[in-house]
């Protein structure tokens, strides 16, 4: 019983600690994400009509971007729907 209570308290404290860590980096991560979007757009820009860098550089980098491509696809789909996300990130109220 007492072990259960101690572990619940531990879980709660670690939850609080996690939230606080995240509070300290969430906006920075958001801004970093926007910079990554620009970087990905530079590499994958030919899809949207932006001139691509030399083919050999793209070819070399593409395998490293499998995960990013998935995200890129999601973001392209959500790119017109960012008002609510910005409100959430900035925490206006």
């Amino acid at each position: 019983m007492s072990n259960k209570i101690v572990s619940k308290i531990k879980n709660f404290i670690s939850g609080v600690e996690y939230v606080h860590r995240d509070q300290a980096v969430s906006h920075t991560l958001w801004e970093e994400r926007e910079l990554e979007n620009i970087f990905t757009l530079l590499l994958m820009g030919s899809f949207s009509g932006i001139p691509a860098p030399p083919a050999f550089i793209s070819a070399e980098l593409i395998p490293l971007l499998t995960h990013e491509l998935k995200i890129f696809n999601n973001r392209a789909e959500n790119s017109f729907d960012t008002l609510a996300e910005m409100t959430g990130v900035l925490g206006i109220d």
Binding site: T28, E31, R33, A84, M86, G88, V89, I92, D93
Partner: protein
């Protein structure tokens, strides 16, 4: 009485969470853990991340809790503590929390899309577009209302600006320690909290006295600069320090309210229409929705819930704790505000030499706060007196007052510059049809600095020239209008997608729409003419915004009623 109300509040919230909330979850939302949430389906470790319920609760609550759930209930005390408390509880449990929960869950079932997107799909595309305009107006009015709050606090309690300026320095140092020096996070946090403590102490030692105009100019430049610099320099570390202030303030306040055992000295009820907005008799219905916003319901929450929270919900069954539970917690914060003002406000105002008694409370309460004793100071003073009446009295009252003041000022200032950031974006979106027609004009107005200036100039001008009792309800109209649209969107989702009758949500949704519409009409027809006479530019600007919003509101309800029984494509 303070203790009794807080305990009753906790019991009411827990009971209704377990009954009404659970009923909503089972019968209308039909939360099902077998359905994978977008956070699980699209888990990419960046945008979509499944988060544990307590963690997501912390995030969501920190995003929705600010200065508004404090200021609104302080003003609503003009009706007496019973109406203020009843609206906080009733609005919170049956409208605000339902609104937040439905927005969250509708978004979850829409792959994490925003409530704006859901409205476009379920009602009309036009409804989705209305959101941008409403949000833009709301942002301008937020700058005006919160600018006035901050200014009142800086002028009224000169220790707070010093503490705030020192806190900005502390945030800049913390930012360097965490992101540049890459210091151990716990150590940097300890240093940050020590610096925060020092800024509070420094504020009590070195008050800065300046005029209202001087502070408005400083606030204006501050929000332009703060909204344009990279987030990791100021916004991020400052918000991190704010979250400590929020939890510290809530915990100390809850302990003090439970142990203060103080009788209420404020009247339980003054009259149906005391003097609140613009020096006019203000009827409880419909005007209460314009006065108490976030403590009972807020349209911004639908955007937060459907913007980031829905992309992190791990299980559908967590939605009730986060969407409904966070809003109830915010209502509890407003309950603490009502309790502290009801228990200690009268003594405090009499102590300041104001002409106020229980019998003239309805006529003199609001005007007293608009004079030498600003509304936020009413909360900070009552809060400090409440803490001093318990075993926590070993903390000096002045320090508690500065902590409470910093709590309100920090959140209000954060709101100002983050609002300006969002205003810049919304303004650019609104102007996007110009892009093809006149690229030069579009490029000029969407320039980072110009787009920052537009909401800041209008907002600060309104704050500087206007009366707070006009600006606060104006902010309330825009906020509650968005809440009304979001709630009706939630109802559409329940009836169209969930195939249930949705009476539980439909009645509060209609009630809210009718109340908000009546409130806008009352505000525009009764209060604003007086403002136009005394202050034409401010009065006309606010009136134009109100009329446009009213027209949009009517367009919206026509669209809603026209399309509510339309079959869905898929």
């Amino acid at each position: 009485m303070t203790t009794l109300i807080v305990v009753v509040g906790i019991v009411v919230y827990i009971t209704l969470y377990l009954t009404y909330g659970k009923k909503l979850e089972k019968e209308f939302v039909k939360a099902d853990d077998n359905i994978k949430t977008p956070a699980v389906r699209f888990d990419d470790g960046v945008d979509y991340i499944p988060s544990k319920a307590p963690v997501l609760f912390g995030h969501h609550f920190a995003s929705i809790a600010g200065a508004a759930p404090i200021i609104g209930p302080v003003l609503a005390m003009a009706w007496g503590w019973v109406p203020a408390l009843l609206w906080v509880w009733f609005g919170n449990i049956f409208i605000g929390a339902v609104h937040d929960y439905l927005s969250l869950m509708a978004s979850v079932r829409y792959d994490g899309k925003s409530i704006q997107f859901v409205a476009s799909d379920l009602i009309t595309k036009r409804t989705g577009r209305l959101f941008y305009w409403l949000v833009f107006f709301l942002l301008i009015l937020v700058i005006a209302a919160f600018g006035a709050v901050v200014n009142g606090m800086f002028v009224g309690t000169p220790e707070i600006p010093t503490a705030y300026i020192m806190k900005i320095a502390a945030a800049l140092i913390l930012g360097v320690l965490i992101y540049r020096v890459k210091m151990n996070f716990t150590l940097a946090t300890i240093i940050g909290i020590i610096l925060l403590g020092l800024s509070i102490w420094g504020g009590s030692m070195l008050p800065i006295v300046a005029s209202k105009g001087t502070w408005y100019i400083i606030i204006f430049f501050y929000i332009i600069i703060a909204s344009a610099i990279p987030v990791n320099v100021l916004l991020q570390p400052r918000d991190y320090l704010n979250s400590w202030l929020l939890y510290l303030g809530l915990i100390v306040g809850a302990i003090a309210a439970v142990f203060s055992f103080q009788g209420f000295t404020a009247p339980a009820f003054t009259s149906f229409a005391p003097i609140v907005s613009g020096g006019k008799a203000t009827p409880f219905w419909p005007a209460i929705v314009l006065i108490i916003a976030c403590g009972s319901l807020s349209g911004f929450h639908s955007l937060v819930a459907s913007g980031t929270t829905s992309k992190q919900l791990e299980k559908e069954s967590d939605g009730l704790k986060i969407g409904y539970g966070s809003m109830l917690t915010e209502g509890f914060l407003s309950t603490l505000v009502v309790v502290s003002v009801a228990g200690f406000g009268l003594e405090l105002m009499v102590g300041k030499g104001m002409d106020i008694t229980t019998s003239n409370w309805g006529t003199n309460y609001t005007s007293s706060m608009m004079g030498s004793y600003p509304k936020a100071a009413m909360f900070t003073g009552s809060y400090a007196a409440m803490v001093a009446s318990t075993w926590l009295k070993f903390i000096p009252t002045k320090i508690v007052q500065i902590i409470a003041g910093m709590w309100v000022a920090s959140f209000a200032m954060t709101t100002l510059d983050t609002t300006n950031r969002l205003g810049r974006y919304t303004f650019a979106e609104i102007l996007s049809p110009l892009k093809d027609k006149n690229e030069g004009v579009y490029n000029f107005f969407t320039n980072r600095w110009i787009a920052s200036l537009v909401p800041a100039v209008i907002g600060i001008y309104l704050a500087w020239s206007g009366n707070f009792t006009i600006l606060w309800p104006s902010f309330g109209t825009a906020n509650q209008l968005i809440a009304s649209i979001a709630l009706l969107t939630g109802v559409s989702w329940i009836t169209k997608r969930q195939k249930t009758k949705g009476t539980f949500a439909l009645i509060p949704a209609y009630l809210l729409w009718i109340t908000v519409t009546a409130a806008i009409i009352w505000f525009s027809a009764v209060v604003l003419p007086g403002t136009i006479m005394s202050n034409p530019v401010t009065g006309i600007t606010v009136l134009v915004i109100e009329v446009i919003m009213l027209i949009m509101n009517i367009i919206f309800i026509i669209d809603f009623l026209k399309h509510k029984d339309d079959p869905l494509d898929a």
